[in-house]
Amino acid sequence: MNNFEFTTRRRTSFLGFVIAALCSFASPIANTTSDATEVAPALDGRWSGKIQIPGHELTLIIDLAHDQKWSGSAILPRLNVKGAPLIDIKTEGADLSFAIQALTGPGVEAPKIKAHLTGEKLVGDFVQAGNTGRFELDKTGPPQVEKAPQSTPVAKEFEGEWSGGYDLPGYPRKVTLKLQNHPLQPASAEWVIAGRKINNLPVDRITQQGKFITVECSAFGISYEGRLENGELHGTVFQGPIEVAFVMRRPK
């Protein structure tokens, strides 16, 4: 079913949601912004408009920029989507397609967009969870593409191995985090959470700000935020709606 164990026999709807969130680990989506074979300067810009959803209109703002290759980000006000990266951007003449790296969930892939430049408008379909909504966007200005946050190096006090553990209902988890710096590059991490199975979590971002460190694994929807205190990492693991505080120490 999944490779990150979490099972329960209780069947309340909220718990069902929690379980679904915990059990659903969207496949890692490669951020493979493709080179445009045909540069379409007309597509470059900020595009704003509405997606027609039955009984509702959803505001959509897309920023698209071309600098050797396409990059972009999306805003969906009131859906907590601000600056979500566009992935797999493809253009062919006046046709454009991409996915928005947001709004994924149990069994639900990232929304996909297929659009066509018609005169001054970008017209197309927004596909989410198997539903299709028509949209029409107007160019409202130059692009304001948001760059996804990048990993940083970590201070020496954070480098090396940390271990600790926490309990989720039914199963204790053992956590190992190894942080490593690299010359002229951001830090990397090996992050293992072991319960009934051993899970090597693919880490896509490590950031350190002062005494705080954040480790994120978007593929599993799990992140860790810790604070260095007296040689220990006091932190919280976040997964879906679950937050568990625990302490990691240097292995003896």
Binding site: I75, P77, R78, K82
Partner: protein, 433 residues
């Protein structure tokens, strides 16, 4: 020598002017008075900046940068001229509050229960402090919602407490019932003062005293150094449906008088030295959520259900102006010279003449103009029969959510260099002039 004194005075004036807009209500005393030009006519939207969710708190400015929080969990810094994003920093909860900026640091709370100090230039985290956790005011059968034996979180508990920064200390309230004083440099706890319920009003500071009300029905004056109570004042209570209780309004302190609204439908003027009531203005069961602005001997405030815009004499509480505002007003009025700006929950920002209270011009959000589902009547009042037709279970909560769909303006306007900045529940921060 004279020249250097003159230069010094100019420098001080610039510093005061800059500081004067870098926290909620413009200054530690929360007077709600701003300097500089203000548009007496509406010219247009200079820019609007989209976020991922509602904007309920208010923007502040320092230098050329606008700072604000959004319910999408981010704190934003924007270039005030272009509206372009300078940085954003994510918290783990909505940010329906107003940041304070001092000495290169931005201070703000989040619904994730943490209070953050960020580098105002980069958004980088300097420190954060974990409170006992956020929550909304709640009560059984709140506002008459059914079932009456069920505890219901208040959907109109819309803001979090905004911080006030003075010298090396930052003060704010929390849903855990405490008022906190932290060291601005380290985030270390200096003291905390326990009240009996949620504190989402924003403390004002004057004469080394912190003034703030709690949802426990009391208003407190606390010694800023020791954290000890100087006095308290008891507002109204409502044991039946808990509708007419609690301080959600934030106080203004001017010339030894504390002015504060209350959910018991009063605007109070209290002696700042001892908490004795000087006068009260009865709003006949209509909440006063707005934080009053006080300028030139007048108090400016507005009400919720009765949707009235008031100007009262600061010395006596006598009504000077009463105007129809059409819909609930939670936004706090901003006074700039002869103009007052206030947001309305029907998606309108109104500019009023300070003397007469008459509307000079109005800006209406697109969502308000669209008026989906006829949330508003044709004259922009809330269409109550179509909204609150069901008092059971989630009915009132759904109705409140629909109210906010018109781009309600809870945010208190910031006016800088002739431009008015405010947020809306449509998710946009607007700059209009």
């Amino acid at each position: 020598m004279k020249l250097s004194i003159f230069a010094c005075l100019i420098f001080c004036a610039i510093v005061i002017s800059a500081d004067a807009q870098s926290m909620f209500r413009g200054n530690p005393a929360h007077t709600g008075v701003f300097s500089g030009p203000a548009p007496r006519e509406f010219h247009g939207v200079k820019w609007k900046f989209p976020t991922g969710n509602r904007i309920v708190g208010s923007p502040v400015i320092e230098g050329q940068v606008i700072y604000f929080g959004s319910d999408d969990g981010n704190i934003y810094a924007l270039d005030s001229q272009s509206g372009r994003q300078v940085w954003k920093t994510k918290t783990r909860g909505p940010v329906p509050t107003t940041p304070a900026i001092a000495n290169g640091t931005l201070y703000v709370g989040s619904y994730d229960g943490n209070f953050y100090a960020l580098d105002s230039k980069t958004g980088e985290l300097k420190w954060k402090f974990a409170t006992g956790g956020e929550r909304r005011f709640e009560a059984k059968g709140l506002h008459g919602m059914q079932p009456k034996n069920q505890t219901i979180a208040d959907p109109f508990d819309i803001f979090l407490s905004s911080p006030v920064v003075v010298d090396n200390a930052v003060y704010f309230g929390s849903g855990d019932g405490n008022i906190y004083r932290l060291d601005t440099k380290s985030g270390a706890l200096n003291w905390k003062f326990k009240t009996g319920d949620v504190v989402h009003a924003s403390p004002a500071f004057a004469d080394n005293t912190v003034f703030v009300g709690s949802w426990d029905s009391y208003f407190y004056a606390i010694d800023a150094n020791s954290g000890k109570e100087k006095w308290h004042f008891h507002g109204g209570e409502d044991a039946l449906i808990h509708n007419q209780v609690g301080f959600q309004s934030s106080p203004a302190v001017v010339d030894g008088v504390v002015y504060t609204g209350c959910r018991d439908a009063q605007l109070y003027a209290l002696d700042a030295a001892n908490g004795k009531e000087k006068w009260k203005f009865d709003n006949q069961l209509s909440w006063v959520i707005t934080s009053p602005a006080v300028h030139n001997g007048k108090v400016y405030f507005a009400t919720s259900d009765s949707a009235l815009y008031h100007v009262a004499d600061a010395a006596t509480g006598k009504s000077l102006v009463k105007e129809d505002g059409r819909a609930y007003m939670f936004s706090s009025p901003a006074v700039v010279n002869d103009t007052v700006f206030i947001g309305v929950t029907n998606g309108t920002l109104a500019a009023r003449d300070a003397a007469t209270g008459k509307v000079l011009w109005e800006f209406q959000t697109d969502a308000s103009k669209e008026n989906k589902d006829w949330v508003l009547t044709a004259d922009r009042r809330f269409n109550a029969p179509l909204l609150f037709f069901d008092n059971w279970k989630e009915g009132p909560l759904v109705a409140q959510d629909r109210q906010l769909s018109v781009g309600s303006i809870f945010s208190s306007p910031l006016i800088a260099s002739g431009t008015v900045y405010f947020g809306s529940t449509d998710g946009f921060l607007y700059a209009i002039d």
